[in-house]
Every structure is written in structure tokens, then in C-alpha cells.
């Protein structure tokens, strides 16, 4: 995150003095190699949509096997492990190329803004896919109604992505 953006987000400077450069500063922060890394696996696919696997994602590098095992370790989840994994795969499959990049950048930026670090206990409150948790590499998507508080368990994990959480869970509303 640039110094200027950091100051702007700290809230110490009045909004009217902040330069209105959104979203260019966010785009400019990302290295150009990032897109190339994404495009490489894309060329191997035949469809107009990309088939980016979790492993190939540049901003959220992770171990798919570990991710899947993290998903399975949520007990009594209404999302079965395979379904969640499949849903994440489907999400990555159907999102257009540019959409996914910006989505991942946004989720990464969200982690940066929250100053997430490895080892933190993070709860994601949200609707739908639990994309942030998925992006973090430790998907534990829970449905609140089926999930009793006692069974809320968060998988311990070793984060690869600097913004990722040690323990995280998503609560779908």
C-alpha cells in the first residue's frame, strides 16, 4: 500500500484534501508480472473463461490440498467439504479473467487494510461464497443456523500468503 493511500485511509487527513485517484492507485500497485502469471495457465484452456486453479492464483498462493483439508475440518458444516471446494472452483471458473484479478486484488487489499497477519484469529461475516476466507486459503464456511457455537472450530494452518490468517472462518448469513 502506498504511503499516500495509507495516510488517506488513516483518517488523519480531511477527505477533501485527499486526492481522488480511485481506482488507479489500487491497480498501479499490482505488479505487471501478476497478470502474466495468470495469463499463462489461461492459454492452456480452450474456453473463453479461464480455468484458474487455486494454486495458480498469483495473489493468493496456496496449497490446494491443504486448503481442502482445512475445509473438511469444519465439523457439522452445512456446506459439505467437497461442495465448498467445488463451489470455489466454480467461482474461479465462471468469473471472467479481469473480474477474478480485480476480485482477488480487492480481497487482498481488504486483508491489507485490516492489517491481517499470519496467526490471527479472523472471523468473516458475509453472504454467499465466503470469498475472503477462500482467498485466505483456509476456507471454513459455516452456516449460522446449522452451526451451534460450541461446534465453531477454526482450522489451524500455516499461511503462505502474507495477508492470510492463521485461523479463519466465514459465517454465511
Amino acid at each position: 500500500m502506498s504511503v499516500d493511500l495509507r495516510i488517506a485511509e488513516s483518517g488523519t487527513r480531511p477527505d477533501r484534501l485527499n486526492p481522488r485517484r480511485h481506482p488507479q492507485p489500487l491497480n498501479r500497485q499490482r505488479p505487471a508480472t501478476s497478470a502474466a502469471t495468470v495469463l499463462k495457465p489461461l492459454r492452456r484452456t480452450t474456453a473463453g473463461f479461464h480455468c484458474l486453479s487455486l494454486r495458480q492464483s498469483p495473489d493468493c498462493r496456496r496449497n490446494p490440498r491443504r486448503e481442502r483439508s482445512s475445509i473438511t475440518s469444519v465439523p457439522g458444516s452445512s456446506f459439505s467439504s467437497t461442495r465448498t471446494a467445488a463451489q470455489i472452483q466454480l467461482l474461479l471458473l465462471i468469473l471472467p479473467q479481469r473480474g477474478l484479478i480485480s476480485e482477488e486484488h480487492m480481497l487482498t487489499l481488504t486483508c491489507e487494510r485490516a492489517r491481517c497477519r499470519n496467526g490471527m484469529a479472523i472471523l468473516e461475516l458475509g453472504c454467499g461464497w465466503g470469498s475472503l476466507t477462500a482467498c485466505d486459503g483456509r476456507a471454513a464456511t459455516l452456516k449460522s443456523k446449522q452451526q451451534s457455537p460450541a461446534s465453531l472450530q477454526f482450522p489451524a494452518s500455516a499461511g503462505i500468503h502474507p495477508g492470510s490468517a492463521g485461523r479463519s472462518g466465514a459465517l454465511a448469513t
Partner: protein
């Protein structure tokens, strides 16, 4: 979110695109405050 309770505490509570679907912000933020 209405039914959600836990004794666990978290270093961060993140929410992506949920707040626009919520109404009772006072209750919501109070509940989130208890998580930290």
C-alpha cells in the same frame, strides 16, 4: 447473523458485502464488538 453467537474472540472481524443487507446496525455493531 441474528442467531450467531460465540464465546470465541477474534483479532479481526471482516465483512465483505454484507452490511448493505443489514438493517439494525446498532445491534449488529454491538454483536461484532463482543467478538473482539
Amino acid at each position: 447473523m441474528n442467531d450467531f453467537t460465540t464465546d470465541q474472540r477474534f483479532d479481526r472481524v471482516l465483512s465483505v458485502e454484507m452490511f448493505e443487507h443489514m438493517r439494525n446496525y446498532e445491534l449488529l455493531l454491538r454483536k461484532i464488538g463482543l467478538l473482539e
